[in-house]
Amino acid sequence: IKFMQRGLDLETKKQLEEEEKKIISEEHWYLDLPELKEKECFIIEEQSFSLCEDLLYGRMSFRGFNPEVEKLMLQMNAKNKVEEVEDEAVELDVSDEEMARRYETLVGTIGKKFAKKRDRASYEEDENGHIKPTVKVKKMFLKPQ
């Protein structure tokens, strides 16, 4: 009995496939139109003005009102003009003070990850969102007197 066999041989497989294809192709609907070839078009439509006019970056700051925005202005407008920014080489070096600061807050953040739910509440945050590492007081056994 063929249907219980684990695998059909190649020949029977091919025959079954062909029968299926025949059935499908007869029932398949298709359009009886000649094949239309799309003309190669050389015109691309774009709705954005940024491609047409070289507009500057939208955020601006003057006379040092917002130093981060001023830095951004230099970066983004330089990108448009494809100028080499050589300041990046200097910024790659991290000063020792910054390293020390980072590690101070890192201890708190990683510590929070492994703290139990009750201890998590004891981690406080200062203004910048940096986690202050607090010294945990371990509860020792008090001998009854």
């Binding site: 050389f42 003005f49 507009l55 500057l56 955020r59 601006m60 003057f62 925005v69 983004m76």
Partner: protein
């Protein structure tokens, strides 16, 4: 001649397709058809199959022409859909041929365009997304994960009524616009919630483009007055902030009025301000 061909085929419609090259910086009206430079040459004299020799190889290779805002493609030609001045920009690289044509029109109503940086106002917070009003027909959606350093646990601090500077990732006529405050590398690069205080006001879209042009004198003069911060949204919204309320208001008035002032009037006003 291109024009004769235009008349015989389109005499019914009454249109004459003109060469785009001749209409640069002139006013065009919706419904006009424009021919691109390559097409005129093919239909010109000697169009018995011979191509006239060209000395500059750039125009021979039929590069891709980009039709910008205000123009649509109709067959091989450009169809004007907005009234304004026709502008053209040559390709900078040289290899991507054809250049860009667009219509410099004026309007107040903004239609979201993919890639535009806009200022939006958060109107609602529903589940995982914020609804942001950008001045279009629908409020745009902004996912809370689309901020720098945002994770499911670490949600951004955005309240209803906040101002957001972001860009569109999805903006077409069939779908609700979606915006993000993050660029393709995952960095904020200036986008996100705009800080406290300051003043938001609305201007026409043409003025924004005029102020953001690379050689804008108005901004250079404004920058010399006093320390200030400005954010321009392509949807016609400008946010300004200065040290005192009076300075902020003066700045807002200048930016609104400079659209209709001549250069001389502007210089007068600036000199008066510099004195006081």
């Amino acid at each position: 001649m291109a024009e004769a061909g235009g008349i015989t085929t389109e005499s019914v419609a009454g249109d004459r397709a003109r060469a785009a090259r001749t209409m640069l910086d002139q006013v065009v009206l919706p419904g006009e058809e424009l021919l691109l430079p390559e097409q005129e040459d093919a239909e010109g004299p000697g169009g018995a199959g011979e191509r006239p020799l060209r000395l500059n190889a750039g125009t021979r290779s039929r590069g891709r022409v980009v039709c910008g805002p205000g123009l649509r493609r109709s067959g091989d030609r450009l169809l004007v859909t907005k009234c304004g001045r026709l502008r053209h920009k040559e390709p900078g690289g040289g290899s991507s041929g054809g250049g860009v044509y667009w219509v410099d029109s004026q309007q107040k109503r903004y239609v979201p365009v993919k890639g535009d940086h806009v200022i939006g106002i958060v109107t609602a917070k529903s589940g995982d997304i914020f609804k942001v009003d950008v001045g279009g027909s629908e409020p745009a959606s902004l996912s809370y994960l689309a901020f720098e350093g945002a994770t499911k646990r670490n949600r951004p601090n955005v309240q209803v009524g906040d101002l957001i500077y972001g860009q569109f990732v999805v903006a077409n006529k069939d779908m609700e616009p979606e915006m993000v405050c993050i660029d393709s590398c995952g960095r904020a690069s200036g986008m996100g919630v705009i800080g406290q205080d300051g003043l938001l006001f609305k201007v026409t879209l043409g003025l924004i483009r005029k102020l953001l042009a690379p050689d804008c004198e108005i901004l250079q003069e404004v920058g010399k007055l006093y320390p200030l911060e400005i954010v321009f949204g392509m949807n016609g919204r400008i946010w300004v902030k200065a040290k005192t309320i009076q300075q902020t208001l003066i700045l807002a008035n200048i930016l609104e009025a400079c659209e209709h002032m001549t250069a001389d009037q502007r210089k007068q006003i600036f000199s008066r301000l510099a004195e006081s």
